[in-house]
Subunit: 492 residues, 2 copies
Amino acid sequence: MSVIKPSLAKGTRDFTPVEMVKRNFIYDTIKTVFKKYGYAEIQTPSMENLKTLTGKYGDEGDKLIFKILNSGPLKHQDTRRILQEDYNFRKIDNSEDYTISTDDKITEDEVFDILAKHVNESIKDSLTEKALRYDLTVPFARYVVMHQHEITLPFKRFQVQPVWRADRPQKGRYREFYQCDVDVVGSESLLNEAEFILIYNEALTKLGLKDFSIKINNRKILSGIAEIIGKPDLIIDMTVAIDKLDKIGLDGVSKELLERGFTEDDLEKLRPVILLEGTNEEKIASLKQVLANSETGLKGVAEIEQVFDYVESLISYSLPLTAKLELDITLARGLNYYTGCIFEVKTNEVAMGSIGGGGRYDDLTGMFGLKDLTGVGVSFGADRIYDVLEELNLFPASAEVGTKVLISNFDTEAEKYALPILQQFRSAGIAAELYPSSAKLKKQMAYADAKNIPYVVLIGGDEIASGELTLKDMKSGEQKKLAVLGIMDLLK
Amino acid sequence: MSVIKPSLAKGTRDFTPVEMVKRNFIYDTIKTVFKKYGYAEIQTPSMENLKTLTGKYGDEGDKLIFKILNSGPLKHQDTRRILQEDYNFRKIDNSEDYTISTDDKITEDEVFDILAKHVNESIKDSLTEKALRYDLTVPFARYVVMHQHEITLPFKRFQVQPVWRADRPQKGRYREFYQCDVDVVGSESLLNEAEFILIYNEALTKLGLKDFSIKINNRKILSGIAEIIGKPDLIIDMTVAIDKLDKIGLDGVSKELLERGFTEDDLEKLRPVILLEGTNEEKIASLKQVLANSETGLKGVAEIEQVFDYVESLISYSLPLTAKLELDITLARGLNYYTGCIFEVKTNEVAMGSIGGGGRYDDLTGMFGLKDLTGVGVSFGADRIYDVLEELNLFPASAEVGTKVLISNFDTEAEKYALPILQQFRSAGIAAELYPSSAKLKKQMAYADAKNIPYVVLIGGDEIASGELTLKDMKSGEQKKLAVLGIMDLLK
């Protein structure tokens, strides 16, 4: 076995003990809220059949799917087919040689290019039939269809698992990262939408965020606007342009709309909608006027109103709504996919993209042959939330402590004395360690420091004689003498 | 997007809500014990550079590594190299054709075989440089080496993550499964070995197992035995044969030993060791006599004695030792790897292979250039433990409940009345759902049944008028009228 210098695969990360405790704090907080709202956890395999995934994420997405090599050797007939069909491989008459020929007269470099393409497409395809999941949504759709006879609708599930994307790694973008998705399928009720707002509100508040916005829009409002302008076919172009208002301002949006097939007249009608301001109530009132002639548009507005009503009833007796809940008709995220309400969550305390989002989709499982199953769901961007909490210093101190107490180890006698005490601590549920060998005090203290262990129990001759042990508070440096039970009271 | 029939990749599984709750019960129980003993969680990426993994698991293991296709297109020069070097691809003089030639005169089928081999080895190799992790041990070794300057020794870590193996799937054997590993590196103390026995004992007891054995052996005892017989080089052959005592009996073992180079004289000396019986103390006494002339052998016995002493001191004040702790010199698991104590855990209540095992290794990180770092660790076979608990019906009823209470939904008025109550439940930490639309009672009850929800709150006109809600216990069928606070007291 030759020695190699160890390295991480590009775009992947190790998580240290301190990072894991913080990550678990995020996952646990979010999961606890999901469960309180009646959502149950499922998991799907990391690898899916390639045909389950391809064609679901657009051409760009498909390129980012990590494919897994078939494990067995290539089948003989596969090789033959590849060589014969793709390379035009054949024996040269009256010769011991074999030839690859191309139809047109081309340069040697062009031949290599063509062959490179063939190797890429034909050979690669025949070598792989499995891939790593790209998101949690498509596997969830597959799950629902495959388990449809054992599922009772509405089916409320959450899923917290890693996904993989062959993206170019950069700051904050990894090839392996966690998604936290929560969805319900089989219920049209807008109570679900309202509860997702409450879930965001409660989970992010529990994580310590104080100033964040939950933006809501509705695909039907966008359709209504395109309809009113008389350009229903340009809805995608319209929303792609409007979505950029924050970045390029009204002039930029107007320019882009003109480029995308809208007229100055259209812009005249669009402008008041794009610049819609005021409270949610004011926006709703304006939209009702603007969309008065669009049945679809009014339906969208009514859905938003109903969601706001539900939220109002739900918050009155419980957690206050810390989040700013904001109707934002420039919000267009994943429009091809969503059919009703659309959500996006942003923190206002740190410059960071969205930390969550989602919406309602009316045909999630159609791709697998199960029609007309409506669903709505949102997801939490755990990695971004991690960065936000880190930047705002919001991880609780308790999220950094593993072992609560270290018992020192000076010699065989003290070790022997310490063993039952060690187990007493553990029996009481206190995470405890005995330094595993007698070593210099300095070394043992450095160990406690490095592990962020808040207390050290020192056991020497005096302590054994008196039964009063020395408890050192590693933060304050303070030392006091206490019996074992006193120490346990203090640590619990 | 064409509709495809959804399927799972071979050898992989979905986990339903009920299965996830049970799996989490196992993971959480084990993790809680790990933490109490001072172990901290880390995670490593699912994908590692291929060169980190290959050569670590033997030829058979290497074949079972799932390789990931490089994501970018093949590089032009890679294709050129493959075609030129491996296929001897070249232009035919004075022709527009290109040729592949082989050195020897062989049949066309042989050419295809050779090319198939080339495609398998050369092309496949050039197409992949990443792979899915095969176990948690090699990634842990990589982690320790890469993080050596930030780690304080002894480093106590646990890791619960899936691994992937391209094995032929069969009952109980999957291509994706979880490993639960706990290891400490940088401490020679046998206290660590003793604590692993306590960890097994406590975790498996908490999981509900009542009759299980923790078997222990020591590589040095096996070396000592081989040394005494005068065949130190045959230690592997000896242990492979002895390891089969359970399956093939003494006659079978004797036959195999003769085949593997031992003489009748050797067998004479080996027999009393193989058939070693009695209590651990009696076995230790016999071994001390047998191994009197082997320094290594006596060292192994002394290590076992020290571990037993530690266990004795640790259990006296805490959890009793439920496990049968048994010195078993036929235990040889992973001998090439382990250098000191070796562990294996079996349940005696169900026929099932080992549900855990591990041992001490003196050179885990040598493969990555960090020498002389000793480590010891064990792992829990979570999938097998799941099957054992299922067969013995040991999953607690609480491990099946997600939502605690469902509020019925008969009409808009009742729904409106229910919303603040719903949030009161949740604020009190009670997982609660309101059926999201008004539907027939039967349908709502069927939903509660399917989700194993133990209580349903019925709200009709009478309930709204009186403020006393009807609480139905879904198991007993019993109904009673209670105010909201009364229901909350009962549910908490």
